[in-house]
Symmetry: D2
Subunit: 290 residues, 4 copies
């Protein structure tokens, strides 16, 4: 059986539900009946919470009907197993609003991945509380929207942010070193859709100036954490983390510089997983089918 | 549904077959019919060879029959899909013959894992062409069998090795820095069951004295490779690899020392996967469901 | 100039002092005058505290006098620059008391390194609050001293510990998963000489059950930290750290198992640096000339 | 003594010479005499070739004379010890010609580092055998010079390359995925100044399509190597290497994608060391004082 799977259009099914007998059997029996071709499959049964997770990629053209019909036909199975689920069309690019401040390392890396096709997403706009990165963003043909912050009253800023995100019909919001704490109500509006890159190996060094804290503590590795934003600061579900070795030679300034490379790599890996529907949130933890 | 899965007795089903529709459906439908509880599931469809691989862990006590009946009942499914397959009882420890020379780092690490229960296997005997490690092995209550090598005629040595392995009813043979090249016929007797730790990041530095070669080339990382032994030297399917950074400060002697730590870690990880039936060999490559 | 340096007897000079002009000039001029051969040299000037650190290895037989004379002759230079300094004879093995509880992974690894010569030190005795590891230690010909802990009154235990350490003339004490918090006065008796392996990437997860804490937080890497013990719990100067990736597949039990491999590797690397006088403590941080 | 060293102007002295007594003493005595302030110092005595290497950073304003006088005054010391040496002014940015083909990942990363000040160098021009990257380069205000390759006769191309490099007064040439093999005479013109990023963990997979080779061999980690170009293909002195884990899930296409991230990181680290005069070449190996 020779089927071209690598470049074919795919649907992505993700499921979380209480673990029990026959979940996979029901799903795969359903797909096999319609000769749906599964090109990638991941399952995980969490023994501690007795929860079942799955993510399947299915070749769209192997099915004799379209996405809406697929969803309709899947609905009874989902109900039978009390599933939290979604099916997305992988060819529909997610709309990602980038929020930045003055630092360009994460933005620059993401824009390279966007324009080269390394990662597949749309950027309806870049929002910033500073003008510094306007020219670079606009060279890419992407709208750059300057939303200043009045330190005495941040409310107008965040209202504008909320409006722009809504207008952009964002599927995800990436805080690419945005450097402002989002208000609780904004966090709650987009659960598991706002992605932050924190410049420490959480839960170490929560809050401001983590590299300064790391230098004071004398750690031998510094890290970065990509996580979903919740209303509790730096406490949301972790998607991805990594570290880089430092030595006594490295001053706080060096750590900031070294850390930027870790940050941009970790953010890119985390965002890629999110874009490909590989991250399933469960409580304050994530299942990442990478 | 609260089922204790972490410490329960399990069967392990592994399958390789041509990829097609309905494989998972057939397997899971069969299990669900008998209320077999899947505690861990991995699948992989290789798009380049159109081959399908799967590994399931099933709670033994969730099934209403024993292993032999399970195999019998599974047979028709296996035939229908032209599967290469096996089902093992995870509670039956594999019998692993260790072969060593003079170096103790891998042996010592594996014996710690054996006696502490960190890894679950039996050691019917340790074979060696030197007496150096006898006392340490025997303290563990494990037979140490000295099989000297006559450099002018190695045939008697390897005949004795073959006999001991057969007598030990070995499921796997681990060359824990054994330092002799096995004859082709011995390699062919135990396909995908002889595990070697090579002290380089293969395919770099095939053959003798890899750290010396690495020092001459001036590499910045040295590595180790755990692979199945085939009759072609250092060319068998790779199970696991890792590297460690070195600098100009590190002499060849240092590289040997640093390398030992990488070797023992890589061998232990590779062997663990083998013991847990996580490694499926396909041509000269492996699928490792870790 | 062909001098055999790798296996020659060496002195190790370590220095910390306020940074200023001419420190290296004074030291090296002194050595050159006596034709002292420097086989390894590290210096570091900390720009944040304006402190200077150095570590030199000098071939003992290149000097026309012995260690005592060397120290006497060096004294005036040390005074001129207000140095904290020491010169040790690398051929004199450090005496290291190991303290353990029930877990064998770190002990087993260190004993392998000791008996194979991978690391160069003496073990006058192993102290433990449990009998579990007696047989293994005694096979090595090392005294195993059982010092039980009365949970209602730990004072007798720690008095016995203090006496044994004193009797052993310990240069260093290694808490190889000893699992008891040392009393402040014991910590203060041996500054920068008690080495602990903590099973988390400090400062994350201070205190008890760090893997449990890590599992709850959903981190994607777990780590271990080798540090000098001070009277403040888990807050002493960090010598070495490392991490290992975990995924959602890894339960708390898995993390404990994976973590043990990180722990023993980190402890071994940290202890090696300590044994070779490569760790200079400065405030709550370390300079490690590795 | 409180001296601001982090942002001060510095000279960089690098030395290679036969190892003997008194080298450091002579150099530091000379500097101390003129109250030259050493802000960073590295030395290395290679026991295998009995060669001595050093790299010092000296605060320019601590000396009572300028760079030319410094060089003149240092000359006698250099002659006495038969040194290969140089002293550079760290504030004079190196001129780096970038050579690219169609792939943008390394170029994009280097241009970010250039424009953000993350790395300190000048780019007189970018040379390419394709037009693809013109617009992106020119947005940065950097000349983009298109030099097409006639596959039937590459000589005119390389003559043009040679002329452009000469006209640019290049201190270094970076082959940022240039994908053409430079002719021997061009390699010989710029020893230890042409830097290539090779997309494998050398010496594995020399030559074309290394990721394809890696996929066929079934390796578990893929890597990249930053090295100086010599006339022997992929065999020049290695500056920096790193690897990234891959699994059976990763197709050749995935490896190319993952590899790009390793390549750009390794090239950036290698180039940084080169720009800061941290790489001393000795035979076919490097001493990297990082």
């Amino acid at each position: 059986m020779a089927i071209e799977t690598q470049n074919a259009r795919k649907y992505r099914l993700t499921v979380s539900c209480p673990d029990t007998y026959g979940i996979v059997a029901a799903v795969t029996q359903f797909l096999a009946t319609h000769r749906g071709w599964i090109s990638e499959a991941h399952q995980f049964a969490d023994p501690e919470t007795c929860t079942f997770f799955m993510r399947y990629e299915i070749l769209a053209d192997s099915l004799p009907f379209d996405l809406d019909v697929l969803k309709n036909k899947f609905e009874p199975i989902a109900e039978a197993f009390n599933m939290t689920w979604q099916i997305t069309d992988a060819s529909v690019k997610k709309r990602v609003v980038l929020m930045v401040s003055k630092e360009a390392h994460c933005l620059s890396d993401l824009l390279y991945r966007w324009r080269s096709g390394d990662m597949d997403f749309e950027i309806p706009c870049v929002l910033s509380n500073h003008e510094d990165l306007r020219s670079y963003v606009e060279w890419h043909g992407i709208p750059f929207i300057y939303l200043p912050v009045d330190q005495a009253d941040k409310e107008p800023h965040f209202r504008a942010v909320r409006e722009q995100i809504a207008a952009a019909q964002a599927d995800a919001i990436v805080l690419a070193r945005y450097m402002q704490i989002l208000p609780e109500e904004l966090c709650d509006l987009y659960p598991s859709r706002i992605i932050n890159i924190h410049h420490s190996f959480l839960p170490s060094f929560i809050g401001a100036r983590p590299y300064h804290q790391a230098a004071v503590r004398g750690v031998k590795q510094i890290g970065a954490t990509c996580h979903y934003v919740t209303s509790e600061l730096d406490a949301g579900p972790i998607i991805e983390q990594d570290v880089h070795r430092v030595t006594h030679h490295n001053t706080t300034t060096d750590m900031v510089r070294i850390g930027k490379d870790v940050e941009k790599a970790v953010l890119a890996r985390g965002l890629r997983c999110h874009l490909e529907d590989r991250v399933l949130v469960h409580g304050n933890k994530t299942v990442v089918f990478a």
